[in-house]
């Protein structure tokens, strides 16, 4: 190679500048094409659901749909709460106290996404080895607090953002 070819010249600058501007331009066009696939405004508008819980007896649960996903609302009996709190945290794959999964003073209400954290199936209630839920798809067992105990699921069932509007109404989302 001769010396002139190695030297950085005006043409190299033009090439680099053109590539850079071109890359920015392509990125600016590609991003809208990617982002259009994210949840749209209509989907986001469905972000909250209010549920009347006055008719749920202790020990019973209902399932409501929130953002297309089932949410379990369970009114637990004192025995079930005691059982959930008696568990040694060292026995849990994803250690979390039962107290952290409910609202303080509303300990009987367990509100959680009824979605198995493995691959998204809906677990069946009052089944499995731990008196809680059992996912029929790949065999994950959850306890009365919805915590994973056995099987391929990596984490406890998720607690969504929720609040008590009054004593009889829960707002999810």
């Amino acid at each position: 190679m001769s010396k002139e070819e190695k030297k950085v010249n005006r043409r190299d600058f033009l090439f680099t500048a053109s590539y850079t501007v071109g890359a920015v331009g392509i990125g600016a066009v590609i991003w809208p094409m990617i982002d259009q696939m994210n949840p749209d405004k209509a989907q986001q508008a469905l972000a909250t659901t209010e549920v009347d819980i006055s008719s749920i007896e202790p020990g019973k649960s209902i399932t409501v749909l929130w953002r297309g996903k089932p949410v379990f609302l369970k009114r637990r009996t004192p025995e079930e709460i005691a059982e959930a709190r008696a568990v040694n945290l060292d026995d849990l794959p994803d250690p979390q106290k039962d107290e952290e999964r409910v609202k303080e003073g509303k300990d009987e209400w367990l509100v959680m996404l009824g979605v198995c954290t493995h691959l998204g199936c809906v677990p069946l209630k009052d089944k499995g080895d731990y008196n809680g839920w059992f996912c029929p798809c790949h065999g994950s067992h959850y306890d009365v607090s919805g915590r994973i105990r056995k099987g391929p699921a990596p984490t406890n069932m998720e607690i969504p953002k929720f609040e008590f509007v009054d004593n009889n109404t829960i707002k999810i989302g």
């Binding site: 696939m37 994210n38 949840p39």
Partner: protein
Amino acid sequence: MSEHEYTPKSKAGKWFNDRLPLLTLGAHLTDYPTPKNLNYWWTFGGILTFCLITQIVTGIVLAMHYVAHADLAFASVEHIMRDVNYGWLIRYIHSNGASMFFLAVYIHIFRSLFYGSYKSPREVIWIIGLLIYLLMMAAAFMGYVLPWGQMSFWGATVITNLFSAIPLVGDSITTWLWGAYSVDNPTLNRFFSLHYLIPFLILGLVVLHIWALHVPGNNNPVGIDIKKPSKDTVPFHPYITIKDAFALLVFMIIFAGFVFFTPNVLGHSDNYIPANPLVTPAHIVPEWYLLPFYAILRSVPDKLGGVILMFSAIFILFVLPWLDTSKVRSAVFRPIYRQFFWILVIDVLMLGYVGAMPAEGIYLVLARVGTIYYFLHFIVVMPVVGYLEKTDPIPMSISEPVLTGVAEPSIARKVNDKI
């Protein structure tokens, strides 16, 4: 491509061919020198082309009647089945056609594994073929979602949730795939769009697959390089076309048997229940052609580990040409590899079987044994056997076993040696 020059006979033909050499291409495809010893395992390329065209034609017709909306999709499929003229026939051809497509592609892939068709100089053909196979799986999965039955919905949920295993960005990716916070109408819409697109991508790759094939020419059951054209080759037309046509006819009889006599045997009755996001069917299984990979996924007690292993099971095939260290292509001359090949066949069939069974007890044990062997076969057996194995003598040409009157090519050389 073709070495020899071609000149159209008619003046108009010559005029056109000078401007766009389509007639040259046609002549190349007609005269294409093909090994004369190709057996019926080589007819599946043609059968697969037929399958692709069948899926595209029936799919375009079905799209004229189908509605891609969560509230209407299920009813529109029933409308196709009950109201549309011959709708039942077209849909059953399309749904069973997917299974027949996979049946043919698996035979095609194992043919390649047995006769070493993936080896130099045909690596690119192999890799393009695997890309086609990946797209086929994507198309089949999305197509299965479209009727919006229970299996559609929960199959889509389970498969898209595989991506949530990716650390950090997993959940964002799943939401992005869904276009919602669960599998919902936006998911159905985009799956329909992509399901319509993918077959045409496959068609493009098929053109590249055949193009790449026509550079070195076909492998053959003996697996040796041949001069072309020579005594060892015959023109593609009419010799191979007629053989392909006969095989296709037999294949179509089996195909028609499914369509007319047991159109639902390969499906799941749960998919005739409309999708319900509140209830998961008790026993979720994918379509039969994905079962071996499903068994691998479930054999690992860890979410991310299972997903990684399942994808590795497919992607390991891409480096197969470099994992196989044997210089000899055809397993006909590889006494040790030949046995491992059949173990692999049995292993994959077994994985498919346990994939359909509940993941517990003996099935889980079998799934784990099967998974371990699957990977051992490619990572250990192929490099080591290729290195250590003493292969049988290889004939000098294809004509040799024929001309010496010995049917089994592996002993042809020994007979020749005596002479």
